[in-house]
Each structure stands twice: as C-alpha cells, then as structure tokens.
Assembly symmetry: C2
Homo-oligomer: 460 residues x 2
C-alpha cells in the first residue's frame, strides 16, 4: 500500500471533489481519530456527494494501491475508523439524504451519512421507527451503525442493525457498484450479500445507501426494577422472562459493583443488592398493564429482593435513573475505561460476572458489568487511571483474560461494537483457522487488492 | 466436471460409507428427482453419518472434480436438488440428531437432516418453537429449510429461516469445516458467513449442523376472516395491519379466483368477493381478545364487505377452512401447476394481482394469487394441463412475464422457495451484472472448483 498519495491521484481527487477534498494538516488529524481514543494520520480526506464520486474514489485508489477508510461520525470504540495505513478517509457526512420513506411499505432508503436520530425523527412522523438504538444514536450514522452491526437496549425485542436492513447499495473494493437485497421483508433470491456486508466494518465494500426495515411505534411503555440477592437469581429471572410470550422491549442488567457506584457516586436512590434488572414492555394502553404483570410474574422467583413497577412515563423516568446515573458515575471514578461488549448465553451470565469479579480482584482494578441481559450482551468495563502506568498495564493485561473467559463460556467477542483493531488478534481464538481462511477468501473476492480499511477485523 | 465417477473415487467412497454408498440404478433414479417434477440421473448417492464423512466426501470429490448435490427431503420446487451434472447426491437422512436443546438459552443445535416437525415437537416440550413453518414442515429438513431460506405463514411475525439461525457448521467446496456465528442472539464478531450460507442452496458450502434460535410458544390464538370488494381495499387493510403495533402471527391473502375455487370446487362456505384476508393473532388468554380487536379495527376501512372473527380454536378451524380447501381445489381443476413465490412491497399487491389477471386473460389459463400478504409474498399459481402441449407452452410463456411484472413493481423473484434451476436465468433481470459478478466471486472464494450444486442459483 502506498504510504503517501501519488500526485496524479491527488490531482484527480481535487478535480473530482472540489471543496470535498481536504489535505490540510488539521483535516488529516481531525479525521484520523475516533471514539476509541486511537489515532493515525490520514493522507487526505474525501467528502463525496454521491455514489458516482464514491465509485470514482475507490477506482482511483485501487489503481494507485491507496487505502480507503470509510467513516461515519467516528463513534467506533474499536478503532475501526482509524487510518493506520494512511491513505484516504472517506467520510459520508455530505451524503445524508432520506431518498425514500415508504410508510405503507415500512421501509426507508437512506444515504450512509444520515444520522440515526434524524431517521428516527422522520420515521416517527409516520408512527414508525428503525430498531437500532445505540447510545451514540444522536450522532452516529446509519452507515456506521450498519458497518459495525450496532444494537442497543431495544435489540432484545426488535433486533440489531443486521436484523433490520433489507438491502444495500455499496461499492466493492474492486470499484463495482452492487445493489443487493430488496425492498421486501422476505427474500430468497440469490446470495445474501446484504447481511454479509453488515458488520464487515468497511473492509469488503463501502455501504453508500441502505434500505431499512421500519417498525410501528408502540405508543406506551411500562417498566419494572428488580433487585436480586445475587447474579444467579437475576440470570434465572432473565431466562424466565425470555421464555414467556411477552417480549421485553428492554432487559438491562447491573452487577453489584454497578449498583454501588450508581448509589454512592451517582446518587441513585437504590438499595444494595447482588444484581439489578430493569425490564421494559411496550404496547398500547389496553394491554400494557397485562404485559407489565406478565413480566413481573416472570421476574418473581428465588433470590428476588424487591420489585418496583412504573406503569407510566413519569414513574418510568424515576426508575431508570439508577441506570442512567451509572455512566457518569463510571467517568467520575476513573478517567480510563476499556468498554467491552462481550456476549454469552443467558445461562452463563452468572459465570461471566463471577469471572469478572475474580479478574477485578486479581488485577486490583474496578471491573464492572452491565447491559443487555436478554441477549446475554454485557458491557464489561475495566476502569483505570490512564496517567498511572501500572494501572494501565494491568487493565491491558486483564483484557485478553476477559475474552478467554467469554470464549470459555461459549460466548462471542462482540455483540454490537464490532472488532476493529481492538479485538482483531482475538479473532484467532474465536474462530478456527479454516473459518478465518474462508473470511479471508471472501475479503479477497470483494476487495482483491486489500484497499478497504486494511488491518481491521481479520487477524494478521 | 467428470460425468462418470472415477473408479478410485467409487472405491474410496464405498470403503468410507459402507451401506451409506448407493450406486444401484434404483437409488440413482430415486435421488435424482425432487418436488419440482424435474429429474436427472445421479452417478451415486452418499448417506454420511457425521461431519468427518461429509468432509471426506467433499475432499474426494474436489480431487476428482465430481459434482456434489446436497439433499434434504427433496421438497424443493425449483429443482435445487436435481443432479443435472451427475456426480454424487449427498443426502443428510442419516444425520438427524438434536445435538443440544438449551431451553434456558433458547437455542437448539441440530444436524442438517432433522425433519422440521421433529424439531418442533422436541422444542414444544419446552414451550418453544422454531419459526419457519413451510407447508412441507412434516417432511422437509432443517438443512433444506436453511438452504432455500424457507418461510411460511408465520414469518410475518417471527421471520424466515435466515432470521432464525444463530450459527452454522458447514463444509465449504474447498473441503474445509467452518464454524460461523455463535450461540447468542447478538453477534458483531467478524464476517457474517451464517446468513450468507442460508439461501445459497448448497452452492457455497454444505450445511452440516445448525444452531437455531428458538422462540416461546404463544399459547393461544384468534383469527378473523375479511372479505373485500377488491384487491386494492384488501392491500390497504394489509398496510394498516402492518403499521399498528399488534403484529399478526399470520396474514394470508386470496384473490377473487381463489375465493371462487375454494367455494365452487373446494366446497367452502364463503361468499363471492374481490379479495380475502385471513388474519391471526397469538398471545396469552389475557390479551388475545384485545389483540383481535386491534387487528379487527385495522382491517375495517373502505371496501370491506364482511368481517368474521374466531376468538377460539374451534371457531378458528371453521374460518380457516376456505384457505385449507384452496390447495386441493387447485389440484382438482388442473394437474399442472407452476407455483411461484414472488414478493412485492405491500402497496404493490393490487398492481401485481391486476397484472396476474391480465396474464390469465392473455394466456387463457387460470392464474391465481394467494399467500403471505403481510410480507407481500404471493404464491402465483399458473394452472395448466401438462398433457396439453399448447396449454403447457402458454404456461411456460406466462412465467417470464410474471417475473418481469414482479420486477417492474420493485419486487423480487423469490420469497421462500429459492432460485434453483427454475429461476436462475431470471437472476440477470433481478440483479446488475456487477452484483452477479460479486456473487460469482463469493462462489469462487468458497467453492473454487465449482463442485457444489453446479448450475444452480447463478445464471450461466
């Protein structure tokens, strides 16, 4: 790969993109970082306005063997958007149109740079929404959400990005425009390139436009908060909740350490306990009380300490405060945070949390676990002071142990953040050599010169 | 590709498989047909008992350049299981184990040859089910369901095969065992080979084992039957149904011709009408009445002729009789049937049905449309007498026009049957040359010698 841009490429790009071609130092630095706090210097930044420009950029970069790193809003926590091999950062910030919003057919066609929240607003005017609700929804783009298969708390009922995309228009690493999938919710026509590209983090093709499945908004919601004596009894309640026919619209977990932090640092009005579950149901006014009763019933069992319900929006806010106060509390006690998103089968949540507690003791660092219990998708946060070299080293040493623990419980490395550079070397622990070879063969098939986001996802 | 089996291969297979290696004429003929009424002679039939044998077969066939056609129960209606290039038919009929059924974690790991209905029975003992319910469920295999992305009526609420698989073990055309996906309902770890293999009809890899997502059974269901003055008003009701937050568990459509056939030939107690909708909701006793009311409300609108509800199982059976009487009625009036499964956006259902009526008039054949309206997935049946050469020719001439009509309405060729040989030449109308080239590149990546189910899915 060329480490500096050839002059003919620079000239061609400047002519093609006009003020959408940035090669000044400030831009190169600005677009060289993401939310992982990683950094590398891009050679230049391209801001295309349409698919023809995207295709022209890819074709030119292929000709000159220059890397292209696709970028949404740079909210990746895995370094997926960092241009480690230089080349061009291609930001979709000028491609933000809602091309079509077909309410009767419940789909939207949008450009990759559209912000998630802006889609939700437009869909909401028709009583519809797009399921993925990552914490970054106010700033992250649809293209970025798709690239890393973003989820969020309501995925437990409505699914992740991959579950809510019908079709894609993309430019492959060979510079071809492909249109895969359909406008419809059933499709058995040919190879499913759509779901393959979702979660591939810009390494196979650049997602330029997406057809998204929209769902009807449930107008009302109710919540409950349950405290348990230990994680085992909370996990058993999760299994009961997921085995009855009223699907929770959110099912969030906090471990003992998180509960304590929310109270002692965040100021939440909550008792000490071994584990907490927040459960939400949504629906219409006529059935909401019943749904709340159904999930309350499922929550009851051995080890339940307390159960509070919030049948309406006002009481809901109060109940969710402890969960919301957690993130600021985490920031208060530590400047440094490794925020993982491992997944295990629900029945293995107790073993995961016990293992995390053991790692916290062994490495003498606060390590907390919370998140999307219905999917077994827990955010394990390793907290440390980045100015303290010893703490930093211990945090970094704890991370491979967390992944080994997760895999030993038949879990997987990432539920909604993706792999990026942060986890790529652990891919060899998660998959067999033959499986990785198949992934590499697919990479080779769609990006024969390896110009798309090199050094990401697949291990060296 | 070798058109006859080399002697060393035959010897190796006989030693490997013992009585699981069939090369007599009866077996070769029996395994050379499927439910598409197509036929070709296999060179031999392999009945492996485990993944090691599957891998050994693939490796040997690759070495000798011999085709392998994977087979479940042969219920394909597209000729996907026909060994047109000879070679080995690999039937999974001896691999029918339920390897694991984890009720608390709501997944099952099963071998590819397990019959759909047997999985449902085993899962049902835990109050769980696997969503896909193709009409062939009593005989078709999980591997076959996955290979063609089978759906069925309840896909409107619960999704198709692709939506309900978590992971796969498969043998690629290069003879490697790959294990992709996970045990969990969220997964952002590497390339999504799982969903790529689903619907690839045995052309990329042989699915040997699958991890399936199980869902909690809703214990009760209620139905309604609505007659409409025309298809337009029925389609508007479908759009209203899909835009409100109580998802129908089934949402079936019959056109005017189907209603007439069900009454006049099938003996159903049903009035003449322009269109019929059958709507089912499921849930628990406490909310079912409300759900039925919610969908009844959504059904009401311009053009509604009558609305009958069935709040319990006994009345349900009576109401669904007209739908059940349709298939025997179709068989009664015509021995020959081209049964397609095109999909269009819901708003285009009226245009599709109008176009089908025009084709029926133009080609002077009964052509009827019914099926899964909530997904826009209609079974268009072209009826003819196969002993009448002129009728047969007209039926075959009508088919490309149906696909052209579907694509002109921004629909797709198949919702749940797949492509096989029946629709492969129409793939070039459905996808751009560049998109097909990407599919071919992926085929080349996973099956470099083209030994897996050659001549299927992708056009020549």
């Amino acid at each position: 790969m060329n480490s500096q841009l050839p002059a003919p490429l620079q000239q061609q790009m400047a002519e093609l993109l006009g003020d959408g071609w940035l090669s000044d130092d400030a831009a190169r630095r600005q677009y060289g970082q993401d939310n992982s706090r990683r950094y590398a210097l891009a050679d230049a930044v391209a801001l295309p306005r349409n698919i023809e420009q995207v295709q022209a950029i890819v074709r030119a970069c292929r000709q000159h063997r220059v890397a292209i790193v696709a970028r949404g809003s740079g909210t990746s926590s895995t370094g997926a958007a960092i241009p480690y091999q230089g080349g061009i950062v291609l930001s979709f910030e000028r491609m933000t149109r809602i091309v079509a919003l077909a309410a009767a057919d419940r789909y939207a066609i949008v450009e990759a740079g559209l912000i998630n929240a802006q889609l939700q607003q437009a869909a909401g005017e028709h009583g519809l929404f797009w399921a993925p609700d990552p914490a970054s929804a106010d700033v992250s783009t649809i293209g970025g959400n798709l690239a890393c298969n973003a989820g969020g708390p309501r995925a437990v009922k409505y699914g992740t990005s991959r579950d809510n995309v019908l079709g894609l228009t993309a430019v492959t690493g060979s510079g071809e425009v492909i249109r895969c999938g359909s406008l419809t919710s059933k499709d058995a026509t040919g190879y499913d390139l759509t779901h393959l590209l979702v979660g591939s983090e810009g390494t196979l093709a650049l997602i330029v436009e997406a057809t998204l499945k929209l769902l009807p908004v449930a107008p009302h919601r109710a919540s409950l908060r349950a405290l348990f004596v230990d994680v085992g009894s909370a996990a058993a309640a999760v299994a009961r909740l997921m085995a009855q026919p009223v699907p929770p619209s959110m099912l969030e977990f906090m471990d003992r350490a998180c509960i304590r932090l929310a109270r002692e640092v965040g100021g939440a009005d909550i008792a000490d306990a071994g584990a907490l579950l927040m459960v939400e149901v949504d629906g219409d006014q006529a059935t909401l009380a019943h749904s709340l009763q159904a999930v309350s019933q499922a929550v009851r069992g051995d080890g339940l300490l307390s159960l509070e319900t919030a049948p309406d929006e006002a009481s809901r806010e109060q109940l969710w405060a402890a969960r919301r106060q957690l993130s600021p509390a985490l920031r208060t006690i530590a400047n440094g945070k490794i925020n993982e998103d491992v997944v295990v089968p629900v029945s293995r949540i107790p073993a995961l949390v016990a293992g995390v507690e053991a790692l916290a003791a062994e490495f003498d660092l606060p390590i907390v676990a919370f998140g999307h219990a219905g999917n077994g998708n827990l955010h394990v946060n390793i907290l440390f002071d980045p100015e303290d070299a010893a703490q930093t080293a211990r945090a970094q040493a704890a991370l491979p142990r967390l992944f080994a623990l997760t895999l030993s419980l038949h879990g997987t490395l990432s539920g909604e953040h993706g792999i990026g550079v942060a986890k790529r070397e652990f891919m060899a622990d998660a998959f067999s050599a033959a499986t990785l070879d198949s992934m590499r063969a697919i990479k080779q098939a769609l990006d024969p010169d390896g110009i798309l986001n090199p050094g990401k996802v697949l291990p060296a």
